[in-house]
């Protein structure tokens, strides 16, 4: 026996239309939120602290400059913010923000950019004081890279120079 009635068909069509509309609204809102607010919330993704390996030639080239300051900072203090940046065709880049010396205004912020080789071992990609060194400007700079904020590791990253 066919139990379908014109009323059921009408309700079914309205329901389907509602779900299509809801999906469109959610998709649009979702895209917007992802583009506009990637820094607003801290994702639960976590990278643990570990050593950072650096080619020993790096020390010779950058001795005494802001890269050296950044590596000194990250080896003594845990990063206070961390971000994941997916890289097409390569491993994710992790931005570890370290501040030294500390001040309330949020200046003297360094970005230590690494990739994870294995659990607990990271290779330095590059490190410097971006923008004007303020957290606000650096977060805006990171926003333009479509990064995702993650929980910051709670321990410093010892730096090991490889021969």
């Amino acid at each position: 026996m066919n139990t379908t009635t014109p009323m059921n068909n009408q309700n079914g069509s309205q329901l389907a239309a509602f779900f299509v509309l809801a999906a469109l609204v959610l998709f649009t809102l979702g895209s917007h939120v992802l583009k506009v607010l990637p820094l607003a919330g801290t994702n639960m993704l976590l990278i643990k602290s570990g050593k950072i390996v650096v080619d020993s030639n790096h020390a010779q080239i950058t001795h005494g400059d802001e890269a050296t300051q950044a590596l000194n900072c990250i080896s003594q203090y845990a990063p206070f913010k961390a971000f994941r940046q997916p890289i097409k065709g390569s491993k994710d880049a992790w931005h570890l923000l370290c501040q030294y010396p500390y001040d309330e205004a949020g200046t003297n912020v360094f970005d230590v950019i690494v990739e994870e080789l294995e659990e607990g071992v990271f290779r330095l990609k590059t490190t410097f004081r971006p923008q004007d060194g303020t957290l606000q400007a650096i977060e805006q700079w990171l926003l333009r890279k479509n990064v995702q904020q993650v929980s910051a590791p709670t321990l410093p990253f010892p730096v090991q120079f490889l021969p």
């Binding site: 950058t62 400059d65 890289i87 390569s90 290779r123």
Partner: protein, 90 residues
């Protein structure tokens, strides 16, 4: 921002607009030879400060890059993505 009078950027007398374009072109081709990397790493980073927008940080990323050859491919991929965001050097 200083210009060389022809509309291009003049960073210094030893590292010209043409050389900057050469670095960018090489990265876009997926290459960053030791010699080219060393030439950027030997520069005074204050020379990048006259560049517009986020370009100073692009060249600082190269200036302070870990030269480890094993990480070069990943670093080039990172820089290529940066170039996509930055567009063309004015």
């Amino acid at each position: 921002m200083r210009t060389d009078g022809s509309g291009g950027l003049a960073l210094s007398t030893t590292f010209s607009d043409t050389q900057l374009q050469q670095v960018i072109a090489s990265i876009q081709e997926g290459k960053l030879p030791d010699q080219l990397l060393a030439s950027v790493q030997a520069m005074d980073p204050t020379l990048f400060e006259g560049l517009p927008g986020d370009w100073p940080d692009f060249f600082k990323a190269i200036k302070f890059m870990n030269p480890d050859p094993e990480g070069r491919a990943g670093n080039i991929a990172y820089l290529q993505q940066e170039l996509e965001i930055l567009g063309a050097l004015p």
